[in-house]
Symmetry: C2
Subunit: 204 residues, 2 copies
């Protein structure tokens, strides 16, 4: 459990409080399950803290994670109606980014992914959110659609106190290097190995 | 992403639909972060499906995961008030199990853990919930407070359609063997390595 003493105390001129409150770049990678699910769990915690939480899903399918989206939109409504928790935004490449004039028929996924990243850059510069979930963001980086060094540079120089969590397999080494916290989810056993397909409530 | 074809189709006499809808035993283990967080992400998805979700935290601290607890209690209220999502129950060993007459001063953690497991057995037999989150449940098993073979036997013979997710480090081999889905969360990098302590909204 995480409340132990740090192994080393760095010589960075910061107090424990300053160090504790640094904004984090977190990466969930590996071939196992739970990368996105754990990121949404973090988003739940952020919502509870009253943070502005924004999810950006770099996926083609508009149906992907519809269950989580519905749950978070309900939580976002609670913020609007009662002031409980924080505001939630959920953006999805697969249905066309909500701020874009283009409809969901956008065929050029590379251009759509880059447009998503440009929007995230604008929001980071404007300190718009407390937590950014960049779901499946490792793929457009891996495919060369978005430049890894530019991502690292933008994240390293982001102003204020904005947490970022990035999910997806095969995270770029530069991203791993830049991250404060990296967890690898490894598949030990999966129902698909026993011939079982995904099911409602578990996989989506 | 999980919607592919299974690698093998087992000769178990079940249709794909029957196999798909089998209740799952899931284990999140390993030394990395995200084990509990991913389990709570699953719980969120279960809530959205309208399942009855019950969380049992086998932890000593009554403050552990207070953020998630608050968020889930809000979601449970939404079910009561509007019929949105499913009902949520959140039980914690650290403050004395809510169904127990004992107050939070219970000193015998082994007895408290076993009492928690007995209650879970009763509920499984009664098919009380759609999803059980047994958070940090590997520890009382590892310490010999709860018998691993009995746990496996109970879970293997549970009736109906009840999903179970168990979290914690060093999951017992019998549990790994019995599970349908096992994910190991491995720490690649953690802020504590750089002398940073946990912070609100991220660690709890």
């Amino acid at each position: 459990m995480p409340k132990g003493q740090p192994a080393t105390v760095p010589d960075d001129g910061l107090t424990t409080r300053q160090r504790r409150n640094r904004p984090l770049l977190m990466v969930h990678t590996g071939d196992g399950k739970g990368k996105s699910t754990a990121a949404f769990g973090l988003a739940l915690r952020g919502w509870n803290q009253g943070w502005s939480v924004a999810v950006f899903q770099f996926v083609k399918s508009a149906k992907w994670r519809l269950g989580e989206q519905t749950a978070f939109e309900t939580l976002g409504d609670l913020h609007t109606e009662r002031g409980t928790g924080g505001p939630i935004e959920w953006h999805k490449m697969g249905s066309g980014w909500s701020w874009s004039r283009k409809d969901g028929t956008e065929e050029d996924h590379a251009a759509a992914a880059l447009a998503g990243w440009r929007e995230i850059q604008r929001r980071l510069a404007a300190e718009q959110h407390g937590l950014y979930v960049l779901d499946e963001f490792t793929y457009p980086i891996g495919w060369g659609w978005i430049d890894a060094d530019e991502v690292v540079q933008t994240l390293a120089t982001r102003p204020g106190h904005q947490h970022v969590v990035i999910t997806g397999r095969r995270a770029h080494p530069a991203l791993i290097e830049a991250a404060d916290l990296v967890t690898e989810m490894t598949k030990i056993k999966h129902p698909m190995d026993a011939g079982q397909k995904g099911q409602k409530g578990i996989e989506w």
